[in-house]
Amino acid sequence: MRLRRFIDIALDSILKNKMRSMLTMLGIIIGVGAVMMMVAVGQGAKSQIRQSINGLGTNLIVVTPGASREGGVSRGAGTFNRLTVQDAEAIKRESLLLSGVSPVILAPTQAVGGQGNWRTMVRGVSTDYATIRDWNVSEGRLFDAEDLRGMRKVAVIGATVAKDLFPNQDPVGQNLRLRDVPFKIIGVLQSKGQTGMGNDQDDVILAPYTTVQTRLAGHQFIGQIVASSADPADIPAAEQEIRGIMRERHKLAPYEPDDFTVRDQTDIMQAAEGTTDVMTLLLAAIASISLLVGGIGIMNIMLVSVTERTREIGVRMAIGARGSDVLSQFLIESIVLSVIGGAFGVAVGFGGAEVIARLTGWSTAIAPAMVGLAMGFSATVGIFFGYYPARKAAQLNPIEALRYE
């Protein structure tokens, strides 16, 4: 009853000074709106990254050289690359849980053919690679075991490479020179678009790893081994299996740490999301400065309001309002002001996020919890910045307040 009455009084006072209330709320509106937008963009980036990591393939497990950083000091982490094609072949041979294993030999190469020159990344992979990455050809075919065994000079090119080297023509069947070695193009990969980090995934040439190893890389060490388990639930067990095979192959004593790292998509996702979380936090922190400024605006107006209504406060006290009653009245007014501002701010945030989404093509997302959080935060701003003026009102001497002109 009492609370309802105070809220009525607060709304009444806000409505009596529409222009002033609106300007006061503007600070909160901009503040909350900005924070909401920044978080929405951050969330959008996060889901974008999640999507592109999922796009890497299903149930992906990646083995890279170098010891894991987890669990104490790592010896020679990443300093010495001991990952070989033979490791990949051994995993493929011995593993029970993996549905596909492929080494990945990276060779940055100048590709010459068709319309000219294109600097790109040649990936020497096995036939499992397309399955692991969930990637198929849009034209032609992928290379097969025969191509692999025969170290054939065949290549499957990404959509970007196809577009740049062979505009308006069918690349399949054409020749391509990689480091002066002629390769025959047998297929064009489906377009995968950009990663969350903005890398063009289609700027790639796939070739049998046997060919790449002998013709382009010239050494047996490889950048990574990718694998996938048949069942997502098997991922942890599959990782253990890989670790066992690798340790055995590398003849590691039980006290020696791994000289390789096994990660799955969850790890990769966590790492990537960690980065966006930090970015989001940073952006939100900057945006919340405007919320602070908005709060100061509320304090300013509340101080004016208390001065203006000194006589009213005196009357209320004379007829029996306690200091705490007056305090509540003004505190509620400031909270109502900031919460209404917060509600408008949420609307602005939604609108702004939508605009950003349209302009950038990112998917922005505002979680429902975010709305609650924003409202709670505005209320907190109202309490924090409304307390001082409200206390000032509550501590007025009723006699002086009644005499105030």
């Binding site: 009444d12 007829i319 029996g320």
Partner: protein
């Protein structure tokens, strides 16, 4: 400790403002007894200490020294919150400047003190406010805002606000100060009427012609009581809430107001 029919029993009330060399003795020892159902006027020029006395009697201020028993309970030495509760329960204020909340209906204005009631009793505050407004003859003006009411009507709303809690006494501080003669007489008539119904009324004024409507007048000068006497109160004020025939103002009132 005090006789039950005493509403106010104050002894040796003093009030000193300031400290050291700049002390001002606003009250120098005032004794005052007011019986239940009494109507009295406290009169004095400005600087006589009547405002200070009113503030203390109204529990807005505390005496520097002395004992103040209100409705059988000592109130000197209470803290701010306790005083607020006592003001809410025991005292109805009527001010010179009406002091109604602007842009708030008469009914809501009158209801206001009940919203600060902390006794915990169940009150139908709207019904009580309506009753109070009817008692002062404004039953047909409940939804009017102060700006839509005349000065006299506003003061009657203020009196209704003072009445609504059924207080021990009504303290009226220059209640006719902002009103013309005709309306002043009406308001005084209303006080007399309420007093006849048993309400204890304390009129604080500097005008002898206003004080003359009370059967007992206490005069203050320089913080001391110079005279406290019973008189025959003027009975020429006519309560005319209908606002029909204007009341003929008395000659002497014309001159002073």
């Amino acid at each position: 400790m005090s006789e039950p029919d005493l509403v106010i029993d104050a002894k040796e009330l003093t009030k000193v403002y300031g400290t050291g060399g700049s002390e001002v003795h606003a009250l120098r020892g005032i004794d005052l007894e007011v019986r239940r159902g009494e109507m009295m006027a406290i009169m004095g020029a400005s600087g006589s200490g009547k405002s200070t006395l009113m503030n203390i009697l109204g529990c807005l201020d505390q005496p520097t020294d002395g004992v103040y028993v209100l409705n059988g309970a000592r109130v000197d030495g209470l803290d701010r919150d306790q005083l607020a509760d006592i003001r809410n329960r025991e005292i109805g204020f009527v001010f010179q400047g009406f002091n109604l909340l602007a842009r708030t209906t008469a009914l809501d204005n009158v209801e206001l003190p009940l919203l600060y009631d902390r006794s915990g009793r169940k009150l139908d505050s709207k019904a009580l406010a309506r009753d109070a407004l009817e008692r002062v003859g404004l039953g047909d003006r409940m939804d009017h805002q102060p700006s839509e009411l005349s000065g006299g009507q506003q003061q009657r709303v203020a009196i209704a606000r003072a009445l609504v809690t059924n207080p021990t006494l009504i303290l009226a501080d220059e209640p006719t100060g902002n009103l013309d003669t005709h309306t002043s007489v009406e308001v005084l008539a209303l006080f007399q009427e309420l007093n006849a119904q048993g309400v204890t009324v304390l009129l604080v004024t500097h005008e002898p012609d206003i004080a003359a409507y009370a059967p007992r007048i206490m005069e203050l000068r320089d913080g001391l009581v110079v005279r406290d006497h019973a008189t025959v109160a003027r009975q020429d004020a006519v309560l005319d809430p209908g606002g029909g025939e204007p009341v003929e103002p008395v000659e002497s009132l014309k001159a002073t107001s």
